[in-house]
Amino acid sequence: MENWTKRFLLTGTVLCSCLSSSVVSAQADAVQVIEPELDRRELKEDSIDTENFEIGVFAGVISIEDFSSSPVYGVRAAYHVTEDFFFEATYGLAEGDLTSFEKLSGGSPLLSDEDREYTYYDISLGWNFLPGEIFIWDKYAFNTQVYSIVGVGSTEFAGDNWFTVNIGAGVRLLLTDAFAWHLDFRDHIFDRDTFGEDQTTHNLEFHTGITLFF
């Protein structure tokens, strides 16, 4: 009880003396103490805008083995992990045409129209192995990255889903910081047994597209 009252009175006195002294000192040092106008801003990590994601569309040609070449359209999304590596997910749509056999024999079609639709998705790892610049005319220089890409995915064709490996390379031209133009070449490899026996098919695709970094 005694200690408590002592403590209370002591803190009270100290506080009062502090306040009075600060008031006095402020009045006395008003001329000398300069209050700098500091705009205190905490620089947090996320105040620097990071642009590691990429999203875009592409269009091109795919040569579906045995089923002729057809235009392909799709979307792509990528995440750049380091300056050298990135993850990419692609989804594309194409439609196979008649096989040579169907054209020559004129008999009944081997696949229905629905089965002839070629849909694929893949998830790949890309490696930017040749960064550089491309110079156009006198004035323009664009940053480019030549990359190689390898991935796995699935192809839906001929009424079934096939495990697909894709391997390829491409060029990414950075038109501005946020806008890039791609030229890409890929080989989609999957084993198919539509014609009886297992056959490893190579479906070569060439496409071009634009992407946005955000």
Partner: protein
């Protein structure tokens, strides 16, 4: 075709929008090292075109992977073009510097700047993770993509989408699991997971059109997460799937997978 054009138009318009509003002040840094090289692009393969000296102040514009785009403060008079109008941006330099170099600079208050540096220490404190796995699902090839959110140091929630390809059937599944890591700060960090989802099985048949079936799925498993470098992780896991079929017996499938993921 029309939708493609519309998307292209939107994309081009988005490029013209300014990245930062004019009245918003960009973070600034003061160089404390003897010099910092500025490159034309976000990578070590791009050429160095300018060197900033100690004491020079730069604005931090944006970051891509481990590179930060900076702009020096205006220095000297602006250049004028043929008509006598000043050329915008002619007395500033914009280029890319490594984020480690920026981390050693000071901000306006003389304190070291805090930037995102993916390091081993960050590995334990990561929030989001995404990756791709490849493996064997009961004798068939399987690929999965997953994304995980770490809501505490030990616990995370994962969503995994898989597709498997077999000689007799193929299937897709989606599963949500809780993952527990008892030692998250270890380089080789083991984990246990428990969850459930749905699985769609498509039996393969070349003659008769068979029906796909959708069943519920329970998944339990474990594995090890290995920190590689930068933001990369390798993941090896084993999972036991119990497919709750409408028949009397449930199907149990064992799955082994190995994969690569990134955390951010």
């Amino acid at each position: 075709m029309q939708t493609i054009f519309r998307f292209l138009l939107l994309a081009m318009l988005a490029v013209h929008l300014p990245a930062v509003a004019d009245d918003e002040r960009l973070p600034m840094a003061e160089i404390t090292q003897p010099y910092i090289e500025m490159r034309t692009g976000p990578g070590r393969g791009f050429p160095v075109f300018y060197v900033t000296e100690r004491g020079e102040k730069v604005e931090l514009l944006k970051q891509r992977t481990t590179w930060v785009k900076v702009r020096t403060l205006p220095r000297g008079p602006m250049e004028v073009d043929g008509d006598g109008d000043p050329i915008e941006g002619s007395n500033t330099k914009e280029g890319w510097v490594r984020v480690e170099a920026i981390a050693q600079t000071l901000n306006e208050n003389g304190e070291p700047i805090a930037v995102t540096l993916p390091q081993y220490d960050d590995f334990a404190g990561r929030n989001w993770e995404l990756g791709v796995l490849l493996g064997d699902f009961g004798g068939t090839d399987v690929i999965s993509a997953y994304t995980g959110y770490h809501f505490t140091r030990n616990l995370s929630l994962e969503m995994e989408l898989s597709e498997n390809f077999g000689n007799f059937s193929s299937g897709q599944s989606a599963a949500l699991s809780i993952v527990h890591q008892p030692f998250p700060s270890w380089r080789y960090s083991p984990f246990f997971s428990l969850g459930g989802g749905v699985r769609k099985t498509n039996p393969r048949s070349t003659i008769v059109e068979t029906e796909d079936r959708t069943d519920d799925l329970l998944v339990v498993g474990g594995g090890v997460r290995i920190y590689l470098t930068d933001r990369f992780l390798m993941r090896i896991q084993y999972k036991k799937h119990t497919i709750l079929t409408s028949r009397d017996d449930d199907i149990k499938v064992e799955e082994w997978k190995i994969g690569l993921s990134a955390f951010f």
